[in-house]
């Protein structure tokens, strides 16, 4: 009897807590998504009426669109660099043993736990000493540092699962190192690389702490523009802009899950 009651109470408590977690994890995103279709002036949940007016209002929101283009440009530049630098570094680290390789891995992953805002400020001071004015380039450099850990981590994870016998087979059949890389290694690690690139893209697109220091008036990025209007005037276009971001994110995530099984690289 006592044990039945124990099992029951354990499952009840754990089930209830995880149910709350699921609701709390998904809830806020759903609230914004629903709110973005409001027909009212003020952002009040649940909306009294629904319309696409705030989505239509995005069409001539010039500043917002300019910020979106800056963010996309920076994200594309930095993710391209992250993939080239990160995949090469992952190959180098995975193929070497010893303290140097481990040390480099720790160094490359450290931006994940170091306060990003302190790094953003430090980068600003370096650029100002070098005489580099805030631009798309300074933004991209800052974003590469904070986004490359994602590509490195997922690529290392997929390299660890690679069967070395496949490489030996390819080499013993006469393929060159480059050919082996192109026809064996790369196809097998590409889900990891693609997942890392996706996470890095979203991290760059969403970055505020580093961009705050490395942008100027001409290169304001989207999350900072949104942060600004949410903090100051709570413009209803913020909701529809967030709606667009949510829909695009979910679509990309479903796509990445299909082609690369990306959620397994998040563990």
């Amino acid at each position: 009897m006592l044990r039945d009651w124990q099992t029951l109470s354990f499952n009840a408590v754990f089930g209830l807590l995880s149910l709350i977690s699921v609701i709390v994890l998904a809830g806020p995103t759903l609230v914004i998504l629903i709110l973005s279709f409001t027909g009212e002036e003020a952002l009040h949940f649940p909306p009294a009426s629904y319309s696409l007016r705030w989505y239509a209002a995005l069409i001539d929101a010039n500043e917002l669109q300019a910020a979106l283009w800056v963010s996309l440009k920076v994200a594309v530049i930095s993710v391209s660099a992250c993939v080239v630098l990160g995949v090469a570094a992952a190959l180098g680290i995975a193929r070497s043993e010893g303290t140097v390789a481990r040390g480099l891995e720790t160094l490359f992953l450290s931006p994940l736990i170091l306060p990003a805002l302190a790094f953003g400020f430090a980068a600003l001071m370096l650029f100002s000493i070098l005489g580099m004015r805030p631009s798309t380039l300074t933004l991209a450099i800052g974003h590469i540092v904070v986004c490359v850990p994602f590509v490195l981590r997922t690529t290392l994870a997929s390299l660890a699962q690679l069967d070395p016998a496949l490489l030996d087979a390819s080499r013993s059949l006469g393929a060159s190192r480059l050919h082996t890389f192109r026809t064996v290694t790369l196809p097998l690690i590409s889900p990891g690389v693609a997942s890392g690139a996706f996470i890095a893209f979203m991290a760059s697109f969403d970055n505020v702490p580093v961009s705050l220091f490395l942008q100027d008036a001409r290169t304001q990025v989207l999350p900072i523009y949104l942060w600004d209007i949410i903090q100051n005037q709570l413009d209803s276009r913020a909701a529809s802009a967030c709606g667009v971001i949510i829909i695009a994110t979910v679509l990309m995530m479903v796509l990445m899950e299909r082609v690369a099984g990306f959620s397994r690289f998040m563990k």
Binding site: L2, G27, P28, L117, A118, M125
Partner: protein, 285 residues
């Protein structure tokens, strides 16, 4: 990897481009940050000393900001653990199909913009938000609660925004635990709670520590959430660094604050790592 056939000791050279990039744009700026923090004059005249550190540490208000930042992070991390652990546990108990759905739900917030998620909370926690309307409708309180711009609000939102970072390492660890151990404990007469506290929880400690490190470091530096939910009256370290650096243009002081903040966070991470090592040594000897 190609080692068996053709050992190439120069493969590590592939890591050199990123190493050079990091030397130039990660290590050099951080070195510069430390160097500038020793400038005693705001105009950076080259006089070095510990003046900026003394200025920070001798002011009780600054120390309170540091303490609040570290404490709010700790509270949010504990909240993440309390709710994230059962969710991770559930993920390992359901069928593969449901597990995929749950993991998708957990991962979605990580890739969704933090600004978007924090914005949602403003609508939920505001004076006329869902939470307050429910509380008023149920008659639980006569006045709307002040959830926005309060520390409670910051803790709740930080916990929600960063919870995936806690849940994912926990799922990995819980999946690795041999289910026979739990069955054995149950067969020997221990109830569900006792089995959990004596078997599952100790074995999942590596996942708890890994999740705690990721969640904690993310919470204390979560500038967007802290400033949007905390408002202008609750000051945390990231905002303090930003104000000193950009609004007041006091670079040496901002640099010293950054160094103190980074060292505090790294010390806490080091303590957690040491804790996990000592526990692992005791468990697996």
């Amino acid at each position: 990897m190609a080692g068996a056939l053709d050992p190439k000791p120069r493969d590590w050279a592939l890591a050199l481009p990123l190493a050079a990039f990091f030397a130039l744009f990660f290590i050099a700026p951080l070195g510069l940050l430390v160097a500038i923090s020793f400038e005693t004059e705001r105009q950076m005249t080259g006089t070095l000393g510990l003046g900026q550190y003394a200025a920070f540490l001798s002011d009780g208000l600054n120390l309170a900001v540091l303490r609040d930042t570290l404490l709010v992070g700790a509270k949010a991390t504990l909240l993440c653990l309390l709710f994230g652990y059962p969710l991770a546990w559930l993920c390992t108990k359901v069928s593969a199909r449901w597990q995929a759905v749950l993991i998708f739900l957990v991962v979605l917030p990580i890739v969704t913009s933090v600004v978007v998620r924090t914005f949602a909370w403003i609508v939920i926690l505001g004076r006329h938000g869902i939470v307050n309307e429910t509380i008023l409708a149920l008659g639980l309180s006569a006045q709307p609660l002040k959830l926005l711009f309060s520390e409670t609000g910051v803790v709740i939102v930080l916990a929600q925004v960063q919870m995936p970072l806690m849940v994912l390492p926990l799922i990995t660890t819980l999946q690795r635990i041999d289910p026979n151990l739990e069955s054995a404990s149950r067969a020997l007469g221990a109830g569900a709670w006792r089995t959990f506290f004596k078997v599952t929880l100790p074995l999942s400690l590596p996942g708890i520590i890994a999740g705690t490190i990721l969640t904690y470091t993310a919470c204390v530096t979560a500038f967007v959430t802290q400033s949007l939910i905390g408002g202008s009256r609750l000051l945390f370290m990231p905002m303090m660094i930003f104000q000193q650096a950009m609004d007041l243009q006091n670079w040496p002081f901002a640099a010293a604050v950054s160094v103190i903040f980074m060292v505090s966070v790294l010390l806490i991470v080091a303590m957690l790592v040491a804790l996990s090592r000592s526990r692992a040594a005791r468990l697996y000897g």
